[in-house]
Amino acid sequence: MQSGLSSPSKQYAINILEALSIFADTQSNLVLDVLEGQTPHENEKFPTGELNFAGSGWRGFYHCHAAADKNPEEHGHFHLFVCCGEEQWTHVAALSIDNQGQPRSWFTVNQWVTGANWLSANKTLLLLDDIHVPAESGLTEQFLLSMLGLYHDDLSELLFERDRRLTQINAGANMDVTLKNRSVYVLSSQLIVLQERLVQSVRT
């Protein structure tokens, strides 16, 4: 991993490129890395033992929903959680992956989907500042943590949009009911063109 570069975005971009270079050389990618040669089953979580990001306060996993329940352009997605207290976790966002193993979008979900602690966008964003990528991180962990850093501003927008949507849907009713409303699933999303973002970031 690189350090001492001119901007945090550039450093995150270099970290991602470093992981991509190894994936390219080993004919792998984010998803093949966590599948470790296994055939996924619907709702099965990968990798075995989850992603713990070298104990840096993040957890995550990859899974695929049933074909009938998902966008055909999506293979599956990584759910990413950040520590918000002792043994307490909050969901930040999910990274949707296409059928070729490439990031396709970020999205946020309602509380019932991930079941973790619910924090407002403002409080969640405090936990996203200065994301550190530990040297001990696995390749996929390095990639994902760096994606969180590289897309910090986009995730900020997504989280605020998530909260706005919830407020609109809630319309003054009991928020606890809305957070558990199973007809409300994805609350905000944004398509990703990673190549463009990497090019922009390494030129800064």
Partner: protein, 60 residues
Amino acid sequence: MEHKYNRWIMGTAIGVVAIAAMIDHTRHTLPTAQPNDIVIIDDESDASPCSLDVSPCSLD
């Protein structure tokens, strides 16, 4: 292992073509997720399908 792309990253002139080539070399068709044959008796109808907690879909 020597990684041929690392030279491009470490250099000062990584460009659009190099990044595109690197990404292209990570495109691999992923195995289709198979239907889950395990019958789950859901006695916890409020379970979150994407949670970290102990659940039919948990890592724990």
